[in-house]
Assembly symmetry: C2
């Protein structure tokens, strides 16, 4: 990865701070291990993708990969997000690629199995 | 885990089959490795939690743990799902425990990091 490449972890966003805090925590291992990576929100919270692209571009980024922190693709990922990405990439003259939602990667299914196994190991209440 | 205990992997549900297929695939490693586990949908798709509880109870299940296949808790997990669980457990005279959404478990953050690293290893288009 060159320093002109930037990763955006895209979460849905909410006016409820607890929602955003959950995603910030989920993003932490990625942000700590991958340089030039940032979380952004589709709506209802900051930073937006536009904010992140503006700032990263001012620091030299010209290519963006958007990784959706969504388990599956609904209307947002099929319509709204591609439209936002088209508008933002044109406005800022950068290239942006939309990756599959994280839930398409088999790693997630394995992590879910591990979570459920931990759940079962808990003493009954 | 006794055979009277049943795990429900609860996904949001959608009228779009592709949405449900994504969750079925995500659930697969869990369903394959944990006996008495089933996927259910909160709305817009079958099986519902009510359907799953009815069937599992007829096979002897009396305790249910509901693991939400949600990354974070919004209105659905804070209000709608607890209300559904209360109604279903009363109707069927079973005990049902709502676990945290999978996104609260640090395993998920690590899986997201691995997914992003795979994304970065892909050749540029």
């Amino acid at each position: 990865m060159t320093s002109t490449h930037h990763i955006i972890l895209l979460a849905h966003g909410s006016s409820d701070r607890r929602w955003c805090e959950t995603f910030e925590k989920l993003a932490e291992p990625t942000l700590n291990s991958i340089e030039n990576s940032t979380i952004a929100y589709m709506e209802l919270a900051e930073p937006s993708m536009d904010t992140v692209v503006t700032q990263a571009k001012s620091q030299g980024a010209s290519q963006f990969t958007v990784v959706p922190l969504f388990l599956a693709a609904g209307r947002h990922l099929r319509k709204d997000v591609p439209a936002m990405i088209k508008a933002i990439s044109e406005e800022h003259a950068v290239t942006m690629r939309l990756a599959d939602p994280i839930g398409y990667n088999p790693q997630l299914g394995l992590a879910i199995r591990d979570v459920v196994q931990e759940e079962l190991a808990k003493p009954a209440e």
